[in-house]
């Protein structure tokens, strides 16, 4: 797929440039002539949506930084200054805070799409692992960003999460003190979190470049899960994928705008409008919604160290997915059993998210434990067994055949 460029420079300047730095050829082969499978559905537009969200977060973030003060005595009020006195500051701030949530909604859909259609399987393992790295970086960035308004949830969320590291035997306390830059979360913590929150999005952008590069080497997967066999199975990226991605993006922006303009604080927490106070612990310390499933896994396990290990393992296990699921058939379309288990897995993740928002007591803990067990069982027991024993449906001979067969099913 990454063969030599078919780009033909038209004017003299572009010919001169192309002979020296073939950047136009690179853009042409990556975003214009790049062959995309013709059967991609709208779940494939989330890659483009995610690039848009990353750009939107970086741009709104850069402008917010022009008005924000990362100091424990001034951070909260500087955010309020943005909300009140900066022209359209309320819009920038709500775009950025809701943008984080939208970024995660899009990435979760993108990841579940990859799982459903087996996009992590050979030859796309590295592509998938780069994606997991981006996701991890996103989680770190989101967490760091949430501390910046220096409200009660910022402060106590930062305290709880950094305390994970105190579970490390022997050196735990030392590591936490080092992370905080003191003996509790305080001004040094806020300033380093701010610095890292500004840094990480650019690291994400770098890994996104690798992710797209890997994608363009192996080509996109598709709903049929079979490789394109020639021109008949593909369409050029522009205009076909471009216009479809653009439509998907506008629909996503509608969803985004609905939250920004009508429910700007819906995805946040009221306690974060109370300035950080080390002397008062909120009744329930709850992380942002996108961490809730992992928070439920953490609290399902009574031992702190094991809980933290389970938390990191629940994300780390994704790296091994290409080898845990060794079925030769990629798409769930042709894997009837896998498809059922996929939807159960989605329900389990949503259930864990619900439980993560609840206090860790009574029935909630037991439910969290059952779902945590199932979460790991999905990867460690169900997928390996399915790869071995599942009777898959016959695959179509080509993508174009699967496209033509599709209407007959309805």
């Amino acid at each position: 797929m990454s063969g030599h460029s078919t780009y033909q420079p038209q004017n003299a300047f572009m010919k001169w440039m192309e002979a020296r730095l073939p950047i136009a050829g690179l853009v042409h082969s990556s975003f214009i002539a790049y062959p995309t499978p013709r059967n991609l559905n709208y779940w494939w537009t989330f890659g483009g949506i995610l690039s848009f969200m990353l750009a939107a977060q970086i741009i709104t973030g850069i402008v917010l930084v022009m008005h924000y003060t990362p100091h424990e005595t001034m951070a909260f009020n500087s955010v309020e200054h943005i909300m009140r006195d900066v022209n359209f500051g309320w819009l920038l701030r709500y775009l950025h805070s809701n943008g984080a949530s939208m970024f995660f909604i899009a990435v979760y859909i993108h990841m579940f799409r990859g799982m459903y259609y087996g996009s992590y399987k050979a030859p796309r393992e590295v592509l998938w692992i780069l994606g997991v790295i981006i996701y991890l970086l996103m989680m770190a960035t989101g967490f760091l960003g949430y501390t910046l308004p220096w409200g009660q949830m910022s402060f106590w969320g930062a305290t709880v999460i950094t305390n994970f590291f105190s579970a490390i035997p022997v050196v735990g306390e030392t590591v936490v003190t080092w992370l905080w830059g003191g003996y509790s979360v305080g001004n040094p913590t806020l300033q380093r979190f701010f610095s890292l929150h500004y840094l990480l999005p650019f690291v994400i952008a770098g890994v996104v470049v690798l992710h797209v590069w890997a994608l363009h080497v192996v080509g996109q997967n598709n709903p049929a899960g079979i490789e394109p066999k020639g021109d008949r199975d593909t369409v050029p990226f522009t205009p076909y994928a471009t216009v479809k991605d653009a439509f998907g993006m506008v629909c996503f922006m509608l969803f985004f705008a609905y939250f920004v303009f009508y429910l700007p604080n819906y995805l946040g927490h009221a306690d974060n409008y109370i300035p950080a106070n080390p002397a008062v612990t909120p009744a329930h310390i709850v992380p942002e919604w996108y961490y809730l499933p992992f928070y439920a896994i953490l609290r399902a396990i009574p031992n702190k160290l094991l809980g933290v290990i389970a938390l990191f393992a629940s994300i780390g296990i994704l790296v091994f997915l290409p080898w845990l699921d060794s079925s030769k058939v990629r798409s769930a379309r042709y894997r009837p059993l896998f498809r059922q288990f996929f939807w159960i897995f989605v329900a389990v993740c949503l259930g864990l998210g619900y439980l993560g928002a609840k206090p860790a007591e009574g029935g909630y803990v037991i439910a969290s434990q059952i779902l945590t067990f199932y979460y790991f069982a999905h990867f460690l027991i169900i997928l390996p067994l399915l790869s071995r024993f599942e009777k898959t449906r016959p695959l179509p001979n080509s993508i174009s055949e699967s496209v033509l067969k599709a209407p007959a099913k309805h």
């Binding site: 009140r84 819009l91 008949r232 216009v243 479809k244 653009a246 439509f247 007959a408």
Partner: protein
């Protein structure tokens, strides 16, 4: 597909049953009708002006409003005071300024650019005057308070746009004072409140009928005062709410039209390959669809 559906139904059932596991909740704050709710919401100028009066005559004695400036009172989307009116209000306050050329702090009349002065010089002074309890700053209180209904109401709120939990809670607390039940022991210096978490609140019942004189004919009841001052506090917490909802409608309409255009563009572009299956197979037998 049916299997998938039954699984979803099962998951939903478990979800709906889950709240039953939670501890029984007390009485929930009653929902109020707010002019600023919903996609076309706007503040009620009369309510904001009355609420401001209640704040000045009742709350201000203990509660600061430190993020607000007098100029905000005359800004669009607010209580609708004119600039001279706001300046006159500012002039009624004493503001500390300085140091002057002699190096001394001095007091002067407030100006539009000044923030609302705090009632106490510092938090400890506020605590000392209030039986050890710190009266919270009210600048963003309407967004900093909420209440939980449990269950899956939060999903319905997405559609109904019910995001006024904060204001509803504040009205409920302001009007929620009652005699404590026999088995409830109110700690010394506290007061029983039906809606305050833990029911023991430091603030004595602040509002009573007829306490503040309204000159626009609105009922002079504690209930009305509570609602008006809460409306005012919502504006204080979200002064650009009207601009946000107005711009929101414009953005939504623009995006809807753009989405429509994109959809038809996409359809037209794809018609070249979708409508002609022979382009896919190149075999006559496949063209029957």
């Amino acid at each position: 597909m049916t299997m998938q559906r039954s699984l979803l139904a099962f998951a939903l059932m478990i979800g709906l049953a889950a709240p039953a596991l939670a501890a029984e909740q007390g009485e929930l704050p009653p929902k109020q009708k707010w002019s600023f709710a919903g996609p076309f919401g706007k503040y009620d100028r009369g309510q904001l002006q009355r609420g401001f009066k209640v704040y000045r005559e009742v709350c201000q004695a203990c509660h600061s409003l430190s993020l607000l400036s007098f100029r905000n009172l005359a800004e669009p989307g607010g209580p609708g005071f004119t600039v001279p009116q706001a300046a006159a209000i500012a002039a009624e306050y004493k503001v500390q300024d300085g140091p002057n050329d002699a190096g001394e702090m001095f007091e002067r009349a407030g100006r539009l650019a000044d923030r609302f002065p705090k009632p106490f010089p510092n938090d400890n002074a506020a605590r000392a005057a209030n039986n050890g309890a710190l009266p919270p700053d009210l600048s963003v209180i309407a967004k900093a308070r909420t209440y939980e209904r449990g269950g899956f109401w939060f999903l319905l709120d997405l559609v109904t746009q019910y995001v006024e939990q904060g204001p509803d809670y504040i009205v409920a607390v302001l009007t929620g004072y009652a005699d404590a039940p026999k088995d409830f022991k109110v700690p010394e210096g506290n007061h029983y409140n039906k809606f305050f978490p833990g029911h023991a609140i430091g603030m004595p019942n602040p509002l009573s009928d007829g306490q503040v004189t309204y000159d626009d004919g609105a009922p002079q009841t504690a209930q009305q005062y509570a609602k008006d001052v809460t409306g005012f506090l919502m504006w204080a917490a979200e002064p650009h709410l009207e601009a946000r909802k107005r711009l929101g409608m414009q953005v939504m309409i623009f995006l809807l039209v753009l989405a429509g255009l994109m959809y038809f563009t996409k359809k037209k572009v794809w018609a070249a390959v979708k409508g002609r299956p022979e382009m896919l197979e190149g075999k006559p037998s496949a063209t029957k669809h």
